[in-house]
């Protein structure tokens, strides 16, 4: 089946075939671990999608013969593992597509056929993800400013950087997230973009981002290592970061490569608590 692919659809809106390309991409991501590349945003955020395309086999789905997705892949020098064009598939399977942009009976039938064909293949790539469902509970120190309450966990195994991100060290792994200071400032968090599983992260490298209607915040990893798992629930429910950024709202886990060295540039609860208080006061002063 198509799993662990990067999927680049044309995502078209001019013709029904483009709408089908989008529907195929979304369905492939709903039912398996695949990543969508947005053909418009790719031109803005090259770094993010270059990484996704570089780390996964690539499936390109063009709607029509304009082949916008294929052209984009060529422009970006991407290696295409598999490619299909919706209009050609419709012809092969003798399905007449309507001019309407709404997906109806014929279009749904074609989508099912294409999905079945794609899922018959065995292109599954081995994942290095290790699922974890451990939940942790911490004791907190709090700081109140007006109606806002900022919490910082007192656990000595939790380290912070001055970018307001934390790492909870569990054996040779670290669980990562953002602090209350970040979630309070962002307000309602609408999106969580996780890092790629298997990605090698330098200390202070970007390891996912979160976004509210106010701004985007990149999680700056306090530690170096390889991403081994992400909090998948957070993708659907990013508001869990607002509820508790240290427990339910953790973002990723990293297999540590050199924690002893990383530790030298990190701070513990007491120092971070003071820094955070200053930041809150400066921000509101």
């Amino acid at each position: 089946m198509v799993e662990n692919f990067a999927i680049l659809p044309c995502n078209g809106l001019d013709k029904c075939a483009g709408v089908i390309s989008r529907e195929l991409a979304v369905k492939l991501c709903e039912n398996a671990k695949n990543e969508i590349i947005c053909p418009v945003f790719y031109r803005v955020s090259e770094l993010k999608y270059n990484r996704i395309a570089g780390e996964h086999p690539l499936l390109v789905i063009d709607g029509c013969q304009t082949r916008c997705a294929s052209k984009l892949a060529a422009e970006k020098n991407l290696k295409i593992t598999r490619k299909l064009t919706v209009t050609e598939e419709a012809k092969t399977h003798k399905i007449q597509l309507k001019r309407d942009l709404k997906i109806q009976e014929n279009e749904n039938a074609l989508i099912e056929i294409i999905l079945n064909e794609l899922n018959k293949t065995e292109d599954k790539i081995t994942q290095t993800s290790i699922e974890t469902n451990h939940s942790f509970h911490f004791e907190y120190e709090t700081f109140q400013y007006g109606k806002f309450i900022f919490r910082v966990p007192k656990n000595p195994q939790i380290y912070f950087n001055e970018n307001d991100c934390w790492a909870f060290i569990i054996g040779n792994r670290a669980r990562l997230g953002v602090t209350d200071f970040v979630q309070q400032n962002l307000s309602d968090i609408l999106y969580f973009t996780p890092p790629d599983i298997g990605a090698e992260i330098e200390q202070f490298g970007e390891v996912g981002d979160i976004e509210s209607s106010k701004s985007v915040f990149e999680l700056i990893s306090p530690v170096s290592g390889k991403v081994v798992t992400i909090n998948k629930e957070l993708v659907q429910k990013p508001e869990m970061i607002n509820e508790n950024p240290y427990e339910k709202g953790w973002m990723a886990e990293i297999e540590l490569t050199d924690f002893e060295s990383d530790k030298e540039l990190l701070i513990g609860f007491e120092k971070y608590f003071e820094i955070m208080k200053r930041k809150v006061e400066d921000l509101n002063g």
Partner: protein, 130 residues
Amino acid sequence: MDKKVKVIPCSGIGKVYGLIAREAALKTVFDLLPEKSETMCLAYIVTGDKEAKEKIEGFDCITVDGCPKMCASKNVSLAGGNVIEEVKVLDTVKEHKGKKFGSPTQLDADGELVMDEIAAKIAKKINELN
């Protein structure tokens, strides 16, 4: 000369707010004001294709963006479109705090409600122009 206003949603794939943007644009051009508006494919516009550029350059456009990245507004402007209104899905979403709008593939009842509101706002803007 084609006087129809172009209503162009972001490509917004994989997120419910992108789906709201897209559906609101489609509702406007197909159901509410088909005689006064039409849509264009943003993924095609950003290819820089000559034909795509000719279709948009100098034309009045209303962009509908699902997130603060504002892909539709930025790219339509870059392609030479005359952006007369930037519609931000999140502005309407904020008025419905706490509600769930559906998934990236399917809008729930509240998602449909927000989509209808946005489509109505776009249609109002187009009617004001005429």
